[in-house]
Symmetry: C2
Subunit: 342 residues, 2 copies
């Protein structure tokens, strides 16, 4: 986890921007320009719109945040073209020096988990192909870390940890998620001791990370702990002293900076807070946003208006970037203030 | 679940072939031919090998089994090229009339799960794009059903159920997986009542399916119950009377036909048994297999030998298909016999 912790120290900002594009979050001219350029396919047009949108956000936040967290579901929704864009987004963010946390929530039985672990370490090897493809292994995914699901137990997780250790990468295990129905399983009390199911997973996560503890005291196995459960967060922090937290649920889902402050350790380290809509859709709250509403145009505009559409798209993307940067700075300051006042 | 149940009745075979390609399961000449055709990239070469291998298996088993289950981890291991192949494999199997069960084990918070649900129902809509892309919605994934992970509770599952209901598709919830460490969470006793965590999920799965029960008495929400837990399987069968079972773990993982027989209902319906390696790698147990060992060749062979490599590959794929068909028939007969004798 050292790479992430050092990126947080460098930027003075323990927050991560969720790159979760959806049609409703993209300015209409950006969608229309992508459609003009890709008239043959809805998924290719959306992929082009998401690509331009992600680039605007990444360029705007590069010097403000240490990390981005693309949520692969938004990309899988477009099929293979979306998955290609997911990988390209990860590669672009990595090229800008950002730590890339792939929110993929994978998990399967051991032999299958070992294949998923290619997310952290390249394509499977064929022993007799030890020459001819060049010496540098391919890394199609470009992620520094991924999220994983614990329901299958150790043999669904340890293959990821092994690859992470070998490749200087990390995994984040779902422990206590931010969504309302997460309590259906995660807070159920177990018969042995007084641990809930989520606390049992917390103990396992701490155990899975043993042997991968870095120079800052945290292992390569992090935990996802939602900002929407502040009182549990403090208890989980004590239960997992070597486990770095990824904290979703700040902002749009209802978590506040005061709520997340308890997820950090006594030195103000130990956690990174995610915001997606609060950053990438910040442009919608800007007074200028109404210029780019779908209603502002004859819609959809025709190919003949292509040049005007592209000009509008470029202006809208400027606004996306400016608003994202401003929101990312405000979030950084909000968390810093809550940490100072706890 | 009617579509799957009727496909099982039509073939008289409650088993599904796992399409889980890995380098070690592919004959050396097939790998070498793909490499000769794709000298620029290891992942493209493996994707080409997997493509030829999958086609041989699908063509061979089409009239014997009702369904195939590609495991997406094997494809994601190759990056975007692998995901494209996954979709192409699903589309090809569907075009041969097979029910396609995508083993993707997805699951996330509600708004994100709704995006993953595109696996069952096409790319996201943009309201103002209501013309221009033609009337038929795109379906990039070509799956009839997918597996989903229950750790996030109802709001991680119900978006899939909604889309499944609208699109005549199904979902299978992980309840009791076949792997050794699954007992770390799934058999933990909860404090309320005497249900284990897995039994709690079983009750939820039965609940999630309510309102989608088809003409054969089973809902659109199935359950994954491993063949490696036969005694629990019978209890889970009683606990989930309207829940169809997908049973992994037969064969290579140790489950026998007698073990899986308890997962079926009293009419011999209610379950489908998966085998992956037992079918797709059956060729390795054929006396002819040694002809296609990597050791049998100067390896890797050069481009100059391309024609000979391609001839060998075609012969090896014939063996893959013949052996897969024979193994699929043997599995069908094995299960039928166990069902008759229980």
């Amino acid at each position: 986890m050292d790479k992430l912790i050092e990126a947080i120290e460098r930027t003075g900002n323990p927050s991560v921007v969720g790159l979760d594009p959806k049609p409703a979050l993209i300015p209409a001219p950006v969608l229309d320009a992508a459609r003009a350029d890709n008239p043959e396919s809805r998924s290719l047009a959306l992929a082009a719109a998401y690509r331009a949108f992600n680039k605007a956000v990444v360029d705007a936040v590069t010097d403000i945040v240490p990390a981005v967290k693309p949520q692969i579901a938004m990309y899988e929704a477009l099929g293979p073209a979306g998955v290609q864009l997911y990988c390209d987004t990860c590669a672009y963010a990595a090229s800008r020096g950002l730590y890339v946390l792939g929110d993929v929530k994978r998990g399967d039985i051991g032999s299958t988990a070992a294949q998923y672990a290619a997310h952290l370490g390249g394509v499977p090897d064929v022993p007799e192909w030890d020459d001819g493809f060049g010496s540098a292994p391919e890394d199609p995914w470009h992620e520094d870390a991924i999220t994983v699901n614990p329901y299958l137990g150790s043999d669904g997780i340890l293959p990821f940890v092994d690859v992470a250790q070998a490749a200087d990468k990390d995994v984040f295990v779902l422990v206590r998620t931010s969504n309302p129905s997460s309590s259906q399983l995660q807070t159920v009390a177990t018969a042995a001791g007084d641990a809930t199911v989520g606390e049992l997973v917390a103990q396992l996560a701490e155990e899975w990370g043993k042997g991968t503890i870095g120079s800052h005291g945290y292992s390569r196995v992090g935990a996802v702990v939602g900002a929407t459960h502040p009182e549990e967060g403090a208890a989980l922090r004590r239960l997992m002293p070597h486990t770095f937290f990824l904290v979703p649920g700040y902002g749009a889902q209802g978590g506040t900076a005061a709520d997340v402050a308890h997820m950090f350790d006594e030195h103000g380290s130990g956690a990174i807070v995610n915001s997606s809509r609060g950053i990438i859709a910040a442009w919608k709250k800007d007074p200028q946003a109404s210029r780019f509403d779908a209603d502002a145009f004859e819609s959809p505009r025709s190919m003949a208006q292509s040049e005007a559409i592209h000009d509008d798209a470029a202006e809208a993307l400027d606004l996306v970037g400016t608003a994202a940067a401003r929101a990312a700075q405000a979030m950084r300051d909000d968390i810093a203030s809550a940490l100072a006042n706890r």
